[in-house]
Symmetry: C2
Subunit: 229 residues, 2 copies
């Protein structure tokens, strides 16, 4: 059985990407990060999804990205609420974490090298976050090219690293429909940037708003509870 | 004054690369990693070099690479001693840490983005470690290309990330000569993979052997003390 490393935040996108990797027949090695995010509840939710979906292994890597700063997700910068996210789609929001996809993919590459795996899944998609350069196909191709020059097995031709971004051209509603078709239990997922101490979603941050809009457009009921309607 | 991020392990190579960055007029932002290495004494040594050389800032990032495994530097795999390193130059030693340069450069990129810096220095050199794919110029160029697609300032043309590897074509003796010419105090550096609890160098691991050979070939006295001659 081929192994794949799947970046798993525990949100709708990464859990759906994980379901797709499993559907494609990979033994999934899920990789999550405890990076100093204020919404670290997502790690617990990632564990639950990984367990429920029967991954081969789930690794949570600790990394202090908060010390680099520059993001509302790790700094004390307030999380924007009730933003018209569609209107701001070409601006990078303060919740952007500098070079996060590059750092996470690099760690996935390291684990892939140890596992002798060559397939890495990431749940990025261009539509919702068109302001993030590191969600675009040209970025992902450049990362893949670099990765194939970075590790010995690839350089020696024993395998070729492939970065899979199966959600790249899907909107949120399509992603949710795809996940439902694959049996994803979205009640186990977490999306909110600013949850309550008990882990309840605020309902008003960009991530909550995108999620709610996605379920609405898909004509489906979001199974999680929001503090604010 | 232009800012640069310099990857600083506290060894001969990175301290020399840092001296070159300073000589070229950059305000140096040194980045070190506490990644679960058994020779974590190098972090303390990196702090001393950074302080002695008057860097603008020194950041030590904590990251649990030991949980990924696959290296004698983070696992309980024994560190090879008295190896004929020259003979094994085309084999990757067990002290290799999977994708480490990619992970470290990615974090440097994140910090550069926060600092509005575009220059990243890394002290890799091809001669001693010809078995490491991620020390080769083609790898460094591919990383640079990817980096310029990853961050907004580069994509929007406000600056272009440059990966500087000023030691790339130098041997260890040349590196040491260059550092001495720039006033580097090598008594503050640390190279050993397997130091004593007091931080004394073993004298017999690959890193100690390369260092000693370098000082010998340069006709200079290594100012640090070794446990074994």
């Amino acid at each position: 059985m081929k192994k794949a490393v799947v970046l798993l935040s525990g949100g709708v996108d990464s859990v759906t990407a994980m379901a797709i990797a499993m559907h494609e027949g990979y033994a999934v090695h899920a990789l999550s990060f405890n990076y100093g995010q204020r919404h670290s509840i997502e790690i617990e939710k990632a564990r639950r999804s990984a367990k429920a979906m029967g991954v081969a292994k789930h690794l949570v890597l600790t990394m202090d990205l908060a010390s680099i700063g520059g993001s509302a997700l790790t700094d004390s910068i307030p999380i924007p609420k009730n933003r018209d996210a569609a209107a701001g789609a070409h601006e990078i929001p303060v919740t952007y974490v500098p070079a996060r996809n590059t750092i996470f993919l690099s760690c996935a590459l390291a684990w892939a090298e140890v596992l002798h795996a060559y397939d890495i899944f990431i749940g990025v998609h261009a539509q919702d976050y068109s302001g993030y350069p590191d969600c675009r196909p040209e970025y992902l191709h450049a990362f893949e090219h670099m990765a194939n020059l970075a590790i010995k097995a690839a350089v020696e031709g024993r395998g070729k690293i492939r970065i899979h971004a199966p959600l790249l051209n899907l909107g949120k509603a399509d992603i949710i429909r795809r996940g439902i078709a694959l049996g994803v239990d979205y009640s186990l997922t977490h999306s909110c940037y600013d949850p309550s101490p008990d882990g309840e979603a605020c309902g008003r941050c960009d991530s909550c708003l995108f999620r709610r809009k996605g379920f609405l457009e898909a004509g489906l009921t979001d199974p999680i509870v929001y503090l604010s309607t």
